[in-house]
Amino acid sequence: MNDPRLVIDFCGLRFDTPLVLLSGCVGFGAEYTRVKGFSNRDAGALCLKGTTLEPRLGNPPHRICETASGMLNAIGLQNPGVDHVVEQILPTLDFTETRFIANVSGTTVEEYYEVTRRFDDSPIDAIEINISCPNVKAGGVAFGNDRKLSAQVVAACRAATTKPLITKLSPNQTDIAANARACLEAGSDAFAVINTLMGMAIDSEARTPVIGNNQGGLSGPAIKPIALLKVHQVYQVCREHGVPIIGQGGVAGAEDALEFLITGASAVGIGTALFYDPLLLPAVNQGICAYLDRHGLINVGQLTGSLRLHPSPIDSAEDTCPERARPGTAVPKH
């Protein structure tokens, strides 16, 4: 039983804690429960593995490698296809444990629509859109790196479901806030910020990339400062609309989770850290509660966006470099 002060409302869904197990890290919900002491109930929600219309084999090995304070991965969306997930896997899940969120991926806008439609007709609690997939009709450029394409994907998914839609934003773009605004207008109910940063690791002896896919997504503590800045920027867009954010990227303990909440997140994603410590969820929950005690707060939601920015000397001068001084103010207002 989690502390009632940790309960949040996320798009009308009750999360027992603000912690969310991230897509791609916890399989289809059953894998980590083999570890003695692990419980999905320690998380407010669990995002299932990325799912496409057809089954996919995924990328060749090596799919992962360790890097400084993190890791690269290029799994390649290995999954059994939406029909198998809906018909064979969802019936095995215990929906009293936590909120289960589907993660929808595709290589065309039509595929996103169709996968979302199948999940709409299922007991799944919410749908996360992975807009970082390559668009096969546009030379493989990721949908999520272009705000118009991002909005198209979100609009297609919106047309396919009434369930809460969470758009997982990519950090591999110039202006994440503008992208968030476009996705918001296209019907996104919430955001997950951020997906992995694209990176590469080289085997100097072989003179080849380490990862079979040549490049992969960087995760782990190495990306936390970037993730915090992106949450901060997206929060400037979301705040006035009351749109919640799942802050994620390098969270490995309660202190990290608190930083994301304060910056503007309503919930906090945990992924890579689980590989190092599979039983860290209870400690993070307890750490957040201890902070609430120390600061006399009655609910974790009070922390969201409670960040107090330093006054910037450039504020009073010409606004020549707003992003350097106050990252959030770089968001175009209209």
Binding site: V26, K36, P61, Q78
Partner: protein, 332 residues
Amino acid sequence: MTPSRRERGSNEEMGHNQPLYANHLKIYHYQHGNHFLAAMSSVVESICTGIFLEDAEILKQEACAGDQFLLCLKAPECARYARPGSFVHLQCDPRLPMRRPLSLMRASPRDNRIELLYKAVGKGTRLLALRQPGERISLLGPIGRPFQPHPEHPRPLLIGGGVGIPPMIFLADALRSDRRFRPFAVLGSEVPFPFQPRPSQYLVPGLPPQVIAAMPLLDDWGIPNRLTSLSDFPGCFRGYVTDLARKWLEGLDKSARAEVEVFACGPHAMLEAVATLARELGLPCQVSLEEFMACAVGGCAGCVVQVRTKQGPAMQRVCVDGPIFDACAIFG
């Protein structure tokens, strides 16, 4: 599952020869955990007991020849449920962001102990080698499908190469207590063996008479064995493990040879040669594989290997679908 090559995540251990895969193959067979359990009833016991996170005390850390280390840990749950072929996922050092998978050499439930033999080759294992008795290491295990000897094949042939030797010792330990099996082991190494070889007390038909060096532990257990190397170690067979294995197999009459089942762990090229030999002679063969690993519990699909299934090619996770695979499914 060779500990040295199992030492993931640092560039020096990365494999160089990658098979070519189509990135978007649509034929697919995903081994979801629950279905897998139902299919593998004989494995249910070891997997259903679960995977334990233990704060293991280092009881012994002993340097052997060739940068090899013998590590003894106090890990009661792991010791209780480990099976030959199981591995553990270790936090080698707090400075590293990822764990390292290492195969088990022995497990003693009575003493709450597990033993690992690893080679310090990468960042992780080199830091692990610095850890001292009395310190604690976070351990996740036991993990993986174990070797499955079949009584209808009462002559197990155990082939271990380099740091692929430890899982063979674990398997030998399990087989020696089962009178139905008459195992023979071939162990190869190009660095000095992590034990002092001695002349075997067993005569083995089919082998050159000068090939007498054996591992004392296995010999004492009543398991005939021989050592191979290209490094001119005294009493060892000069050649590959598969060369000596072939001589042993050819020394058996036809009906005895049909009773052989091959179990192998070692470098990929060695496993491929073993699989080829087994296929040529029509013998069943189980191999222990390795791949870089992140979660080690089946959650991330980071450690997959391509296997052949009746439904077509599939990507299976080395951590929980393996690390033991049917050689035919891997090498065809």
